[in-house]
């Protein structure tokens, strides 16, 4: 397949892995812990597991799977709001597929659907707008979810709805923004990350400039990366190269897609429709200032939060979950007390077990279980020895 197979070439991978090994041996020399590189984006996490990239990297490099799975970090209370909206009479609730299974405090959208709610899976907010056009007597709500990647399409849909004067369409806005979250992670006292793989598709919209502070203020290298396995290896190599040369810069590995200044049209649409919220709640990370957006006053007619009475009750994450520590790279997924026991993809307790892009679900589904078990044993031995 063109434009895909070129980026999955095992021969090129071998070459890159050799280079990575040479660099990581040098950079890691004298360190008493592995080099930690965080991939911020859930799409990267998915690709890393799908191609078994962790099994190929040298032991000195540890990939930390960051907060960039929008489905995972959605707080339970917001899922409850979705369920409540979907159960209103006369409402057609539309959503992306992978949000259907996310558990609320009582049920998921999939369960609400089975109980009679009109919940429909769509591939684009424009599909949702079409449903509104076709059902003028129904209220159609779109569950807006995701980072800057999906924000422009939602914004464009609202602008389109306004142009067509469609009044029975609204957005339940749960869009979040990546920069404040990365900053929150960087400010965490437990942090020991050495570098970042930047989110390719978010950057396609926002460009590379917003990450400058990571290099300048926090002294960490960041390489914006594509989603094919060679992209990821290439970006890891670029991070190591910076570390080896004592540089910390924002670099763009995904230049075939990401323009330095982002996409002006998309940013304009986002800016017209959305404004920052004072704070937004993240599952596993808690409340983060300016990390979410809401619909501006000018477009309030399309805001489900204003149109319907939404309770937004805050539901605390289960105490046993250690999602926050996993997200920050303090512990690995299998070191969590409930991983694979009380918390599995069938019955997820924590955010990261929810979607296939979540680090825990990915380990559970794709991870080398044998490796996990032996690592668990090692940890137990080490803990025993420490007593």
């Amino acid at each position: 397949m063109k434009y895909v197979d070129e980026f999955r070439d095992p021969e090129k991978a071998k070459f890159l892995l050799n280079e990575i090994r040479t660099l990581s041996t040098r950079v890691h020399d004298g360190m008493d812990r592995p080099l930690q590189i965080m991939e911020v984006c859930g799409g990267h996490t998915h690709a890393i597991f799908r191609y078994g990239i962790e099994t190929m990297l040298p032991d000195e490099i540890e990939l930390v799977h960051g907060p960039g799975c929008p489905v995972c970090v959605l707080p339970m209370g917001r899922v409850d709001d979705c369920v409540a909206l979907s159960e209103l009479p006369n409402v057609i609730f539309t959503t992306f597929g992978d949000a259907m299974r996310v558990p609320g405090s009582k049920k998921s959208l999939l369960q609400a659907k089975s109980e009679g709610a009109d919940v429909r899976m769509v591939y684009s907010p424009l599909d949702s707008l079409k449903i509104a056009r076709d059902n003028p007597n129904k209220e159609v709500v779109f569950f807006g979810l995701g980072f800057e990647t999906t924000m422009p399409s939602t914004a464009m849909t609202i602008l389109q709805a306004e142009r067509e004067s469609i009044r029975n369409f609204s957005l339940f806005c749960n869009h979040i923004t990546i920069i404040p979250t990365v900053k929150a992670i960087l400010d965490s006292p437990e942090l020991q990350l050495d570098g970042f793989l930047g989110p390719g598709h978010v950057s396609m919209v926002i460009g590379n400039q917003p990450y400058a502070f990571i290099a300048e203020q926090y002294g960490k290298p960041l390489v914006v990366a594509g989603f094919e396995p060679l992209d990821i290896l290439h970006a890891v190599w670029m991070v190591l190269k910076q570390l080896d040369e004592g540089r910390c810069e924002v670099e763009n590995q995904y230049s075939r897609v990401v323009p330095n200044d982002g996409n002006a049209v998309a940013l304009d649409a986002v800016g017209r429709v959305f404004e920052l919220r004072e704070f937004f709640e993240w599952r596993g990370l808690g409340s983060i200032d300016h990390s979410g957006v809401r619909i501006r006053e000018d477009y309030k007619a399309y805001d489900a939060e204003r149109k319907f009475d939404i309770k937004s009750i805050k539901i605390a994450d289960p105490k046993s979950c250690q999602c926050g520590e996993v997200l920050k790279g303090v512990i690995k997924p299998w070191e969590c007390k409930v991983f694979g026991g009380a918390c599995t993809p069938e019955t997820p307790l924590g955010a990261l077990m929810v979607s296939s892009e979540g680090a825990c679900a990915a380990y559970y589904q794709y991870g080398d279980v044998e490796k996990i078990h032996s690592k668990r044993a090692e940890i137990k031995v080490a803990a025993g020895a420490g007593k």
Binding site: M1, V4, R8, P10, A13, K14, G43, H46, F49, R50, Y51, G52, I53, E54, T55, M56, P70, V71, F96, G97, D98, A99, M100, R101, L110, M121, V122, Y123, D127, L145, G146, T149, T150, H201, P229, L230, P345, E346, S355, S356, E357, Y364, Q365, Y366, G367, D368, V369, E370
Partner: protein, 359 residues
């Protein structure tokens, strides 16, 4: 012992009933003349055979005829509910025959008789029903099975989605064959008979949400002929299963669990159509979990792998067959894939159905 001649009925009633309205109404399920007309016009006309013809409450099949084919009876049943009911590469009728024939054949049975029970939603076109029945009849004829008994019900609009079909199949297993999911041993070769995921991708695409114009078509096919050829090449085949819902990933997990072996497969040996790969890339789906309706997975002793592969390749339904991996004495119950990229990953069971990813 006297052989009682099987009642094949009077040659045939004078004339078969005819449905003269364009759409099915509740009257067609009422048990009266309208129902008889529906059964005769749509089903009897299409399925016509001497065992069905007497229209008794049960089909009567000679034990001696069954015994000619082997020493064990195989029985299976499956219900077919699919949206849309017509799709590129087939329709619900073809599916209802092939699926049940395949469920018999993968156990090593020769498929002989099928039942056909339909649940019809009020309001569907009688012509559509005729078309589906004709498709069932054609598929059954090609597969060499007889539809010998049946049932029709009509339900209120909305109580089912156009048409549900249940078929039960009866077949006979030849002496000496003993296939089972628990028979696989470390070292056994794992094979598939061709390109994977066509049915699942075609159905998702036929639902039209994505409006992709691709030539994707269901692989819906009856596999008994292919299986006969495979079993002739390796009567000691351990296990065969058709990889329907849940795809080959699910079958491999089931067999790894049942046989308590590890299974390793190679992504670069797994046959996939470029269109299916592309479709999965766009939607974020994994083709290993996509449904097939004409694909099987089998495990054979290592020394028979090449023979079975050759037998498969010489059959039209196996021309793209491949040895995709082997059983190991690694971690029992686990399926591992060597990725094209040179990494390894676990191929686990899915929790529910695959859902397209957000971005």
């Amino acid at each position: 012992m006297n052989v009682v001649p099987l009642h094949t009925g009077p040659a045939r009633r004078k004339r078969l009933g005819k449905v003269n309205v364009p759409k099915i109404t509740m009257a067609h399920g009422g048990g009266g003349k309208a129902m008889r007309d529906l059964i005769e016009d749509v089903f009897i006309t299409a399925f016509d055979n001497p065992t069905l013809a007497p229209l008794e409450d049960q089909a009567r099949c000679r034990l001696s005829e069954l015994a000619m084919h082997g020493d064990r009876l195989a029985i299976t049943t499956d219900s077919y509910v699919i949206h849309p009911i017509e799709f590129p590469g087939g329709d619900i009728g073809k599916l209802a025959i092939c699926g049940t024939v395949n469920d018999l054949a993968v156990g090593g049975a020769k498929p002989l008789y099928l039942s056909c029970a339909v649940i019809i939603e009020e309001g569907i076109d009688v012509d559509l029903l005729r078309k589906i029945a004709a498709s069932m009849a054609k598929t059954a004829r090609e597969a060499g099975v007889l539809i010998v008994t049946g049932d029709t019900k009509v339900v209120d609009k909305g109580a089912c989605d156009k048409l549900f079909i249940n078929t039960t199949g009866i077949g006979v297993i030849r002496e000496g064959l003993d296939l089972g999911a628990d028979r696989v041993r470390p070292g056994d070769a794992i094979l598939v008979n061709g390109l994977l995921g066509d049915h699942g991708a075609a159905i998702l695409n036929a639902r039209g949400d994505m409006k992709l114009s691709t030539p994707l078509a269901s692989d819906c096919a009856a596999l008994h002929g292919l299986i006969e050829a495979m079993l002739a090449a390796a009567p000691d085949t351990r296990f065969i299963r058709d990889a329907t819902r849940g795809g080959i990933a699910t079958v491999l997990n089931e067999v790894a669990e049942a046989s308590q072996v590890g299974i390793e497969i190679h992504e670069d040996r797994t046959p996939l159509r470029a269109e299916v790969r592309g479709f999965c890339e766009i939607l974020g789906l994994d083709p290993l979990y996509l449904a097939n309706e004409g694909k099987l997975v089998c495990a054979v002793p290592p020394d028979k792998a090449e023979d079975v592969l050759a037998a498969m390749k010489s059959h039209p339904l196996g021309k793209d067959a491949a040895i995709i991996g082997h059983a190991t004495n690694g971690r029992p119950g686990h399926v591992v894939m060597h990725t094209v990229f040179g990494g390894r990953r676990i191929v686990d069971m899915l929790v529910g159905e695959q859902l397209p990813r957000i971005c």
